[in-house]
Protein backbone atom coordinates (compact mmCIF):
# COMPACT_ATOMS: atom_id res chain seq x y z
CA UNK A 1 0.00 0.00 0.00
CA UNK A 2 1.40 3.37 -1.01
CA UNK A 3 0.05 6.80 -0.10
CA UNK A 4 1.65 9.94 -1.48
CA UNK A 5 0.57 13.53 -0.84
CA UNK A 6 2.58 15.98 -2.88
CA UNK A 7 2.64 19.33 -4.61
CA UNK A 8 4.68 18.09 -7.57
CA UNK A 9 3.13 16.52 -10.68
CA UNK A 10 3.20 12.73 -10.98
CA UNK A 11 3.88 10.66 -14.09
CA UNK A 12 0.64 8.78 -14.76
CA UNK A 13 2.16 6.41 -17.31
CA UNK A 14 5.17 5.52 -15.18
CA UNK A 15 3.07 5.12 -12.01
CA UNK A 16 0.58 2.85 -13.78
CA UNK A 17 3.35 0.78 -15.32
CA UNK A 18 5.24 0.43 -12.02
CA UNK A 19 2.10 -0.45 -10.07
CA UNK A 20 0.99 -3.13 -12.54
CA UNK A 21 4.53 -4.47 -12.77
CA UNK A 22 4.83 -4.97 -9.00
CA UNK A 23 1.65 -7.05 -8.81
CA UNK A 24 2.27 -9.42 -11.71
CA UNK A 25 -0.19 -12.22 -11.56
CA UNK A 26 -2.86 -10.26 -9.72
CA UNK A 27 -5.06 -10.62 -12.79
CA UNK A 28 -6.86 -7.28 -12.58
CA UNK A 29 -5.49 -3.75 -12.25
CA UNK A 30 -7.79 -0.70 -12.13
CA UNK A 31 -6.68 2.93 -12.14
CA UNK A 32 -8.62 6.14 -11.73
CA UNK A 33 -7.12 9.52 -12.61
CA UNK A 34 -8.68 12.86 -11.77
CA UNK A 35 -7.98 15.74 -14.16
CA UNK A 36 -8.70 19.44 -13.57
CA UNK A 37 -11.55 20.34 -15.89
CA UNK A 38 -13.20 23.62 -16.74
CA UNK A 39 -15.65 24.92 -14.16
CA UNK A 40 -19.29 24.29 -14.98
CA UNK A 41 -19.89 28.02 -15.32
CA UNK A 42 -17.37 30.67 -16.23
CA UNK A 43 -13.85 30.13 -17.41
CA UNK A 44 -11.51 28.68 -14.84
CA UNK A 45 -7.85 29.57 -15.14
CA UNK A 46 -6.55 27.61 -12.16
CA UNK A 47 -7.51 25.45 -9.23
CA UNK A 48 -5.96 25.80 -5.80
CA UNK A 49 -6.08 22.78 -3.55
CA UNK A 50 -5.64 23.37 0.17
CA UNK A 51 -5.13 20.47 2.55
CA UNK A 52 -4.55 19.74 6.25
CA UNK A 53 -0.93 18.56 6.33
CA UNK A 54 -1.05 16.86 9.73
CA UNK A 55 -4.17 14.90 8.88
CA UNK A 56 -4.05 14.16 5.14
CA UNK A 57 -1.60 11.26 5.09
CA UNK A 58 -3.31 9.59 8.05
CA UNK A 59 -6.78 10.02 6.56
CA UNK A 60 -5.68 8.53 3.23
CA UNK A 61 -3.94 5.62 4.97
CA UNK A 62 -7.10 4.88 6.93
CA UNK A 63 -9.24 4.89 3.78
CA UNK A 64 -6.80 2.68 1.86
CA UNK A 65 -6.39 0.26 4.80
CA UNK A 66 -10.14 -0.13 4.99
CA UNK A 67 -10.22 -0.93 1.26
CA UNK A 68 -7.45 -3.54 1.70
CA UNK A 69 -9.54 -5.14 4.46
CA UNK A 70 -12.86 -5.14 2.64
CA UNK A 71 -11.64 -6.46 -0.72
CA UNK A 72 -9.18 -9.13 -1.78
CA UNK A 73 -6.47 -6.73 -2.95
CA UNK A 74 -2.85 -7.44 -3.80
CA UNK A 75 -2.02 -3.74 -3.51
CA UNK A 76 -3.45 -0.21 -3.54
CA UNK A 77 -1.95 3.16 -4.44
CA UNK A 78 -3.18 6.71 -3.77
CA UNK A 79 -1.42 9.86 -5.04
CA UNK A 80 -3.03 13.25 -4.34
CA UNK A 81 -1.65 16.65 -5.20
CA UNK A 82 -2.19 20.00 -3.50
CA UNK A 83 -1.29 23.58 -4.43
CA UNK A 84 -2.00 25.36 -7.70
CA UNK A 85 -3.09 23.37 -10.76
CA UNK A 86 -4.31 24.31 -14.21
CA UNK A 87 -7.01 22.81 -16.44
CA UNK A 88 -5.67 19.57 -17.90
CA UNK A 89 -3.37 18.92 -14.93
CA UNK A 90 -3.80 15.62 -13.13
CA UNK A 91 -4.94 16.09 -9.55
CA UNK A 92 -4.77 12.58 -8.22
CA UNK A 93 -4.82 8.88 -9.03
CA UNK A 94 -5.71 5.64 -7.33
CA UNK A 95 -4.78 2.12 -8.42
CA UNK A 96 -5.96 -1.25 -7.17
CA UNK A 97 -4.85 -4.79 -7.99
CA UNK A 98 -6.72 -8.00 -7.29
CA UNK A 99 -7.17 -11.56 -8.55
CA UNK A 100 -10.72 -10.58 -9.48
CA UNK A 101 -11.94 -7.66 -11.57
CA UNK A 102 -14.95 -7.05 -9.33
CA UNK A 103 -12.73 -6.49 -6.29
CA UNK A 104 -10.36 -4.19 -8.19
CA UNK A 105 -13.24 -2.07 -9.55
CA UNK A 106 -15.20 -1.86 -6.31
CA UNK A 107 -12.16 -1.00 -4.23
CA UNK A 108 -11.17 1.78 -6.65
CA UNK A 109 -14.69 3.24 -6.51
CA UNK A 110 -14.67 3.00 -2.73
CA UNK A 111 -11.32 4.84 -2.58
CA UNK A 112 -12.68 7.59 -4.83
CA UNK A 113 -15.93 7.97 -2.92
CA UNK A 114 -14.04 8.33 0.36
CA UNK A 115 -11.37 10.62 -1.08
CA UNK A 116 -14.12 12.94 -2.32
CA UNK A 117 -15.80 13.40 1.05
CA UNK A 118 -13.47 12.18 3.81
CA UNK A 119 -9.98 13.31 2.87
CA UNK A 120 -9.07 16.84 4.07
CA UNK A 121 -8.72 18.64 0.74
CA UNK A 122 -10.57 21.79 -0.34
CA UNK A 123 -10.68 23.05 -3.91
CA UNK A 124 -10.90 26.66 -4.96
CA UNK A 125 -11.56 27.69 -8.55
CA UNK A 126 -9.78 30.81 -9.82
CA UNK A 127 -11.85 32.31 -12.63
CA UNK A 128 -10.57 34.36 -15.54
CA UNK A 129 -12.05 37.56 -14.11
CA UNK A 130 -9.92 37.10 -11.04
CA UNK A 131 -12.74 35.96 -8.74
CA UNK A 132 -12.23 32.82 -6.70
CA UNK A 133 -14.84 30.35 -5.52
CA UNK A 134 -14.59 27.45 -3.12
CA UNK A 135 -15.99 24.30 -4.68
CA UNK A 136 -19.05 23.20 -2.71
CA UNK A 137 -19.33 19.58 -1.62
CA UNK A 138 -22.02 17.79 -3.60
CA UNK A 139 -24.90 15.97 -1.94
CA UNK A 140 -24.37 13.23 -4.53
CA UNK A 141 -20.83 12.70 -3.25
CA UNK A 142 -22.02 12.35 0.34
CA UNK A 143 -24.80 10.03 -0.81
CA UNK A 144 -22.26 7.89 -2.67
CA UNK A 145 -20.81 6.78 0.68
CA UNK A 146 -24.07 5.10 1.66
CA UNK A 147 -23.57 2.17 -0.65
CA UNK A 148 -20.47 0.96 1.20
Amino acid sequence: MQIRVQQAPFDLGAETEAFADAVDGAGAVVTFTGVVREADTGEMTAMEIEHYPGMTQKALEKIASEAMTRWDLADALVIHRHGRLEPGDRIMMVATASRHRKDAFEAAEYLMDYLKSRAPFWKKEILSGGEAEWVAAKDADEDALKRW
Binding site: Y52, R118, A137
Partner: protein, 81 residues
Protein backbone atom coordinates in the same frame (compact mmCIF):
# COMPACT_ATOMS: atom_id res chain seq x y z
CA UNK B 1 -5.23 24.24 22.66
CA UNK B 2 -4.46 24.82 18.97
CA UNK B 3 -7.35 25.81 16.75
CA UNK B 4 -6.91 25.39 12.97
CA UNK B 5 -9.11 26.80 10.22
CA UNK B 6 -9.23 25.72 6.58
CA UNK B 7 -10.72 26.96 3.30
CA UNK B 8 -13.44 29.61 3.66
CA UNK B 9 -13.48 29.22 7.44
CA UNK B 10 -9.84 30.31 7.45
CA UNK B 11 -10.66 33.19 5.10
CA UNK B 12 -13.60 34.45 7.17
CA UNK B 13 -11.73 34.31 10.43
CA UNK B 14 -8.62 35.72 8.81
CA UNK B 15 -6.00 33.38 10.16
CA UNK B 16 -4.99 29.73 9.68
CA UNK B 17 -4.38 28.83 13.32
CA UNK B 18 -4.28 30.23 16.83
CA UNK B 19 -3.63 28.98 20.35
CA UNK B 20 -6.28 29.63 22.94
CA UNK B 21 -6.99 28.84 26.57
CA UNK B 22 -10.45 27.36 26.99
CA UNK B 23 -12.29 25.31 29.55
CA UNK B 24 -14.99 24.31 27.06
CA UNK B 25 -16.17 20.74 27.70
CA UNK B 26 -17.34 19.97 24.17
CA UNK B 27 -16.74 21.20 20.64
CA UNK B 28 -20.15 22.91 20.73
CA UNK B 29 -19.13 24.78 23.90
CA UNK B 30 -15.90 25.89 22.23
CA UNK B 31 -17.85 27.13 19.21
CA UNK B 32 -20.07 29.21 21.53
CA UNK B 33 -16.98 30.77 23.12
CA UNK B 34 -15.52 31.61 19.71
CA UNK B 35 -18.78 33.06 18.34
CA UNK B 36 -18.99 35.39 21.32
CA UNK B 37 -15.58 36.85 20.54
CA UNK B 38 -15.96 38.88 17.37
CA UNK B 39 -18.15 39.31 14.33
CA UNK B 40 -15.75 37.38 12.06
CA UNK B 41 -16.10 34.28 14.29
CA UNK B 42 -19.85 34.73 14.39
CA UNK B 43 -19.82 34.83 10.57
CA UNK B 44 -17.65 31.73 10.26
CA UNK B 45 -19.70 29.65 12.72
CA UNK B 46 -23.16 30.92 11.75
CA UNK B 47 -24.25 27.60 10.20
CA UNK B 48 -22.78 24.54 11.90
CA UNK B 49 -24.38 22.22 9.35
CA UNK B 50 -21.92 23.70 6.81
CA UNK B 51 -18.93 22.87 9.02
CA UNK B 52 -16.93 19.80 9.95
CA UNK B 53 -14.56 19.34 12.87
CA UNK B 54 -11.48 17.19 13.47
CA UNK B 55 -10.01 16.51 16.92
CA UNK B 56 -6.33 15.68 16.97
CA UNK B 57 -6.53 15.07 13.21
CA UNK B 58 -9.44 12.62 13.31
CA UNK B 59 -12.90 13.55 12.04
CA UNK B 60 -15.28 14.05 14.93
CA UNK B 61 -18.52 15.91 15.69
CA UNK B 62 -19.79 18.89 17.63
CA UNK B 63 -21.03 16.84 20.60
CA UNK B 64 -17.57 15.37 21.20
CA UNK B 65 -15.67 15.99 24.44
CA UNK B 66 -12.52 18.10 24.32
CA UNK B 67 -10.90 16.30 27.23
CA UNK B 68 -7.24 15.69 26.44
CA UNK B 69 -7.58 17.21 22.96
CA UNK B 70 -4.64 19.32 21.79
CA UNK B 71 -5.67 20.26 18.25
CA UNK B 72 -9.12 21.24 16.98
CA UNK B 73 -9.67 21.95 13.28
CA UNK B 74 -12.74 23.55 11.68
CA UNK B 75 -13.42 23.38 7.95
CA UNK B 76 -16.17 23.02 5.34
CA UNK B 77 -17.14 19.62 3.91
CA UNK B 78 -14.14 18.17 2.12
CA UNK B 79 -13.80 18.18 -1.66
CA UNK B 80 -10.96 15.80 -2.45
CA UNK B 81 -10.49 13.48 -5.41
Amino acid sequence: MDILYFAWVRERIGLPRESIESSAATVADLVEELRAREQRYEAAFADLSALRVALDQELSDFDASLEGVREVAFFPPMTGG
